[in-house]
């Protein structure tokens, strides 16, 4: 037995291996897709995430069955907590669901591809550079795509702004309309408490070429995370002025806000 297959047998449970093989991704002969997703890497990724998801954040997910079993879909959520942990947990919730699991693709910040190792690693487990062309091509490929329309405005916000939604970009709505993709809103509660930041050192962030430099404890706190998936929202593809597109975006934002409130009321304690 080679070292690689030995490690795999120890790290990746057989049922998970089979579970992922059951999800048939459109991949090439060596297990890759054009965005760098790798069928083997995802097995390690999910085995590790399983521990984080179940043991560390003890995620409680509700309504994950609202995500259609096939076809293009946009999963829209609030972004928080400095690191993209929320994307990871939403992705795992969908990939691990018993009935019709899917491996979603998360759109990530433009700065990640420039980071050695991390950039490739994220690509291998399905994350993709947050470019409208990428999102469009993936929807055309019938993928489930996770988008955080707040972008770094959401993930970089400080602790005293927690659970306040920042401005949503309109890009996701245009894509949803063009590709007739339903939108599944998600309210994430708990990630705000994982890395509470009290300040952002902008000059340092600028010097390092990163989106923000939070002043926070150098640990990820084990906050309990609640994920609430809403019912799919459908929008027609009529030619409408930008103002009306914004109105549609506000509708989605309001729904996410409602789901966050639901999560907050369900939450008994922070950890």
């Amino acid at each position: 037995m080679s070292l690689a297959s030995f490690l795999k047998s120890r790290l990746v449970p057989a049922e998970l291996d089979e579970h992922i093989n059951r999800i048939r991704k459109p991949i090439g002969s060596l297990g890759y897709d054009p965005w760098g997703y790798n069928n083997e890497a995802i097995k390690y990724g999910l085995s590790l995430t399983k521990q984080i998801y179940e043991k560390y954040f003890r995620v409680q997910a509700q309504g994950v069955e609202n995500i259609p079993a096939e076809g293009p879909v946009l999963i829209i959520a609030n972004h928080s907590g400095q690191l993209p942990i929320d994307g990871l947990l939403i992705g795992y919730a969908l990939a691990s669901r018993e009935k019709d699991p899917r491996i979603p693709r998360a759109m990530i910040e433009r700065f990640f591809p420039t980071v050695p190792w991390l950039g490739n690693l994220l690509n291998e487990v399905g994350a993709v550079l947050g470019d409208p062309v990428n999102c469009a091509k993936m929807l055309a490929n019938n993928e489930a795509v996770i988008v955080f329309p707040e972008g770094i405005r959401g993930s970089g916000k400080l602790y005293h702004d927690r659970y306040q939604l920042k401005r949503f970009g309109n890009g996701f709505m245009h894509l949803a309309m063009k590709y007739k993709a339903p939108i599944v809103p998600v309210g994430v509660v708990g990630c705000e408490e994982t890395i509470p930041a009290i300040a952002n050192i902008k000059p340092l962030a600028k010097a390092l070429g990163i989106p923000y430099a939070p002043v926070a404890m150098p640990v990820v706190l084990p906050a309990k995370v609640h994920l609430n998936f809403g019912a799919p929202m459908y929008f027609d593809d009529l030619e409408i002025p930008e103002e009306q597109v914004t109105e549609r975006v506000e509708k989605v934002k309001a729904e996410i806000s409602r789901l966050i409130d639901k999560g907050l009321s369900e939450r008994k304690r922070l950890f």
Binding site: Y32, P34, R110, L118, N120, D131, V133, N134
Partner: protein, 315 residues
């Protein structure tokens, strides 16, 4: 007597392995004339072969003598060869001369071989780049300007002289037996440099498949620009592993460091101006070509890499 005239085709870049594959495929049905500005190659008694500079006046004599119907232009000096100035003269001005003569002598079909390098490797590239994407390469490296300029010229002629029926092909990495480009040299070597922490997605097309693509394109006069790439992808470092190459890690951050190292070493197989292509992916979408020309690549990646694994040459 109405004997049907065999098509007369001018093939440039005849010393290259790809051109020779194309010649093999066409020689039974067409009358070919081969030219190359590097060397004169012997291709058998039935194919006249010349070593000629397109910018010299005698080049026009070929058009007078052979009355070509079509041109397959594969004679692009690769970025790793000659100086920037000489490359510009050969690739840009030479191509212009070729297209001018093609127009003057009523050529009805022109296929120009370009490269996916014209898109340029940047961190923000989306995957599956299609033909209408901007060509960023010229802004990234002065050594790739001639490739972009060659395309621009061909594009201008494409619209100005529709009767030339110009088709521009932008293939991904062409590899396989006999190919002497940068990526093929790397895959064939015992040890290959990689930028630590970067393993961009790449696409490879077997030289025989590429020759098929060129012949297919020549036979159907649809004008336009097309990417040529199979629907299969692999990460660079994984490809090296499958080719049995030892990977030599070159420090990658800050970006100045690898640039300095490669600039000092001046490795022919890993030039500093192509560095970005080993860092960021340039994944092109070849589906338009497949659909339009009915192209079907036949050699899978595993077969390509097996060839390199079994045919190692010392570095």
């Amino acid at each position: 007597m109405t004997e049907q005239r065999r098509p007369h085709i001018l093939i440039t870049g005849a010393a290259g392995a790809l051109a020779q594959q194309v010649i093999e495929q066409l020689r039974d049905t067409c009358d070919l004339v081969a030219v190359d500005f590097r060397e004169q190659v012997y291709l058998g008694d039935d194919i006249p072969s010349y070593c000629i500079d397109f910018n010299k006046r005698v080049f026009e004599d070929l058009f007078r003598r052979y009355q070509f119907d079509g041109v397959i232009h594969m004679g692009r000096i690769m970025s790793s060869q000659l100086t920037r100035m000489r490359r510009y003269n050969a690739n840009v001005l030479g191509t212009q001369k070729l297209l001018d003569l093609s127009h003057k002598y009523g050529i009805k079909r022109v296929v120009v071989l370009s490269t996916f390098h014209v898109y340029g490797a940047v961190a923000y590239n989306p995957a599956l780049i299609d033909e209408s994407a901007p060509l960023k390469s010229a802004g990234l490296s002065a050594d790739l300007i001639d490739s972009v300029e060659l395309e621009n010229l061909a594009n201008i002629y494409l619209w100005r002289y529709p009767e030339l029926n110009i088709t521009i092909l932008r293939p991904c990495n062409i590899v396989g037996p006999g190919v002497r480009n940068t990526i093929s040299t790397l895959l064939a070597s015992e040890r290959a440099p990689v930028l630590a922490g970067f393993s961009p997605m790449m696409q490879f097309i077997h030289i025989d498949d590429m020759a098929d693509a060129i012949v297919l394109a020549y036979k159907k006069p649809t004008r336009g620009v097309y990417n040529v790439a199979p629907q299969d992808w692999v990460a660079y470092q994984h490809a090296l592993k499958l080719c049995g190459c030892k990977r030599i890690q070159v420090p990658s951050i800050p970006p100045m460091v690898p640039k300095m190292i490669l600039g000092t070493l001046k490795l022919k197989s890993f030039p500093s101006y192509l560095m970005a292509f080993f860092k960021y992916p340039v994944v092109i979408d070849g589906r338009a070509f497949v659909k339009e020309f009915g192209f079907e690549p036949k050699r899978p990646l595993k077969e390509i890499f097996r060839f390199y694994r079994e045919n190692k040459r010392p570095v």
